[in-house]
C-alpha cells in the first residue's frame, strides 16, 4: 500500500466521528521506483491531506517532507521529487492501519490492506 492510497482511506467503524487519517504500524516497508510525472503531482497536490502524508511518511522512515506545504513549493524540483517519493514510492508491505479513535487494527499483508469491518462495527 502506498501513501497515495493511505491518503484516501479512513476508518468507517460505526460511531467513529473522525476516522482519518489512519495511523500506520510498520512491519515491512519496501521502496519501489515509480516514473516521475510532474503533471500528476501538481494535480494531486491540491487533493492530498498534507499533514496526513507527512505523518505517514515519517512513520515509514522518510523524514524529508516539510511540515507544511503551499502551492508555490511546486516550483521547486527538489520538493517535487520528495513529494513524489513519499506519495508513490514508499510501500507498506506488512503491518497494519490503525483507527485513530478506536485503535482497531486493519491488517496489511503483501501490500494489501484488509478493511473489512466486523459485524459489531457496522
Amino acid at each position: 500500500m502506498r501513501l497515495l492510497t493511505h491518503n484516501m482511506l479512513s476508518s468507517n467503524i460505526k460511531g467513529v466521528t473522525n476516522g482519518f487519517p489512519l495511523l500506520i504500524e510498520v512491519e515491512k516497508v519496501v521502496e519501489k521506483q515509480v516514473d516521475f510525472n510532474e503533471d500528476f503531482l501538481r494535480n494531486m497536490f491540491a487533493k492530498i491531506e498534507w499533514k496526513a502524508l507527512v505523518e505517514a511518511s515519517r512513520t515509514m522512515g522518510y523524514t524529508e517532507l516539510p511540515e507544511n506545504s503551499e502551492s508555490s513549493m511546486l516550483n521547486s524540483d527538489e520538493f517535487l521529487r520528495k513529494f513524489h517519493h513519499a506519495l508513490l514510492e514508499l510501500h507498506l508491505e506488512e503491518g497494519a492501519l490503525v483507527c485513530p479513535e478506536t485503535g482497531r487494527k486493519f491488517p496489511v499483508n503483501k501490500g494489501i490492506p484488509n478493511m473489512l469491518l466486523h459485524e459489531d462495527e457496522v
Binding site: M1, R2, L4, T5, M8, L9, S10, S11, N12, F20, K32, V34, D35, N43, L88, F106, N109, K110, G111, I112, P113, N114, M115, L116, L117, E119, D120, V122
Partner: protein, 376 residues
C-alpha cells in the same frame, strides 16, 4: 429444509418467501436457500413494507447456517440480529466462492469476470469473447458519456467489486488514471495486484479487501465510480448505492452494470411465485441476495438527488454469453478445471442453464444505470 410456522396468519413454504403475520413464529431452518431468503425477506419487509409486525428474534449463526427464532410484536431487533449473521454468512460465501473459482474463470476467460457485449442474435465463437468483454467496458463508458478529453477524463477511479482487476487495469491504462479496486476476496486482491505488477501498472492501480457496503474511502474521492456486475451481490441495495454516491467526487460519474429482475407493472406487488423460485435457485448457486429491478435502482439514485440518470436494458446484447460459457465448460479443459475446483464452483456451473431460462422468460435483465453527482 425443515420449517414450521405457528401463528395466527402466517404461512411457510419451502423455497419461497415467508409471510410474517402477527403471532408467534417459531421457525427453524437448516436449508441454505431458505436461510438467506428468510433473512433477506425480513430486510426487505422492513425496508419496503409499512407493516410493523416484524418480530423480535434470536439468531445463531453456525458455520454457513442461520438458526433463528422469531417472536412478532414489532421492533427492529429481529432484523439486526438476522441481518448481521446472514450478511456475514453471505460475505463469507461470496469471498470463498470467488477465492475458489477465480482461478478457473481466469484460466478460461482471461481477467475480465463480466459478460461480453454482442450484437443481438449473433452466434459467436469462443475466440470472440475476450473482445466482447472489452466492448462491454467501452459501451458502458460510451453510455455514460465519459470523455476522452485530457481535461475531462477521469483521474481517480474506484472499481467496486473489482474481481481480479480486469476493469481496473483497463480503465487505468485507457485514461492514464489511478484506480482503486475493492473486493471481498483476498485471493482476488492478491491476484489483481500481481497482474498489475506484471503489466507495469503497479503504480496506477491498487487493491484493497473491503466491503462495498462500507467503502473504506473518504467522501468524494473518485471522478468515476465503476460497478461492473457486482451490484447483484449486495444484500442492501440502498447502502450500496449510498456508498457509490458518497465516494463519488462532485461532478463525477457513477456507472452500474448489473443483473436485475424485470420491472414490476403498476398493478404488481411482486414477482410471481414461479419467477421467485427460479431466482432463488440462481441466488443459491451464485451467492446472490434478493434481486431488485432496474426501476428500483433508478428510484434510489433519484432519492439521492443524483443527476442525468439513465438506464438501459442490454439483455439482448449479453444473451449469446451463457451458451458460450456452457460450451467452454464442456470442453476438456473446462471439465478438468471444474473437477479440480471445489463444489461451490461446480454448483455455479450447473446453474448456468437457469440463467438462460431466466433471460428467455424475460425475468432476468442485464441492465446499465448511470448518473452524475452534482457539482455542488
Amino acid at each position: 429444509m425443515v420449517g414450521s410456522c405457528i401463528g395466527v396468519s402466517s404461512t411457510c413454504s419451502f423455497g419461497t418467501t415467508l409471510q410474517w403475520g402477527p403471532g408467534l413464529h417459531t421457525f427453524i431452518s437448516r436449508g441454505h436457500i431458505i436461510d438467506r431468503n428468510a433473512s433477506v425477506q425480513v430486510l426487505n419487509r422492513t425496508d419496503n413494507n409499512s407493516r410493523k409486525d416484524i418480530g423480535i428474534g434470536i439468531g445463531i449463526g453456525i458455520g454457513k447456517r442461520v438458526y433463528f427464532t422469531a417472536v412478532s410484536g414489532g421492533g427492529r431487533k429481529m432484523q439486526t440480529v438476522v441481518n448481521a449473521a446472514a450478511v456475514e454468512t453471505l460475505q463469507k460465501g461470496i469471498a470463498e466462492f470467488y477465492d475458489e473459482s477465480s482461478g478457473i474463470w481466469e484460466n478460461i476467460w482471461g481477467d475480465h469476470m463480466h459478460h461480453g457485449f454482442y450484437e443481438p442474435d449473433s452466434s459467436v465463437s469462443l475466440s470472440d469473447h475476450r473482445s466482447a468483454q472489452i466492448r462491454m467496458i467501452e459501451e458502458a463508458l460510451r453510455f455514460a458519456s465519459i470523455s476522452d478529453d485530457p481535461m475531462q477524463k477521469p483521474r481517480q477511479i474506484v472499481d467496486v467489486g473489482c474481481g481480479i482487476g480486469g476493469s481496473s487495469r483497463y480503465l487505468a491504462r485507457k485514461y492514464e488514471a489511478r484506480c482503486q479496486g475493492i473486493t471481498l476476496s483476498p485471493v482476488q486482491a492478491q491476484r489483481a495486484q500481481a497482474l498489475a505488477a506484471s503489466q507495469g501498472l503497479d503504480d496506477k492501480v491498487s487493491f484493497q479487501v473491503a466491503d462495498a457496503l462500507n467503502q473504506p474511502f473518504e467522501d468524494g474521492q473518485f471522478n468515476l465510480v465503476w460497478s461492473m456486475e457486482s451490484g447483484e451481490h449486495m444484500p442492501d441495495k440502498t447502502k450500496f448505492v449510498n456508498e457509490l454516491a458518497r465516494v463519488a467526487a462532485p461532478g463525477g460519474t457513477i456507472i452500474i452494470v448489473t443483473w436485475c429482475h424485470r420491472d414490476l407493472s403498476p398493478s404488481e406487488e411482486s414477482l410471481s411465485p414461479e419467477e421467485k423460485e427460479l431466482l432463488n435457485k440462481i441466488c443459491d448457486a451464485f451467492f446472490l441476495p434478493a434481486w431488485c429491478s432496474t426501476a428500483d435502482y433508478v428510484k434510489l439514485l433519484e432519492s439521492l438527488s443524483l443527476q442525468d440518470i439513465k438506464a438501459a436494458d442490454w439483455s439482448e446484447n449479453v444473451a449469446p454469453f451463457w451458451p458460450a460459457v456452457i460450451k467452454s465448460a464442456l470442453t476438456w479443459k473446462g471439465i478438468t478445471s471444474l473437477l479440480r475446483s471445489g463444489w461451490k464452483t461446480i454448483k455455479g456451473a450447473l446453474a448456468m442453464p437457469l440463467m438462460i431460462e431466466g433471460y428467455n422468460k424475460g425475468l432476468i435483465k442485464f441492465a446499465i444505470i448511470t448518473c452524475r453527482k452534482p457539482v455542488s
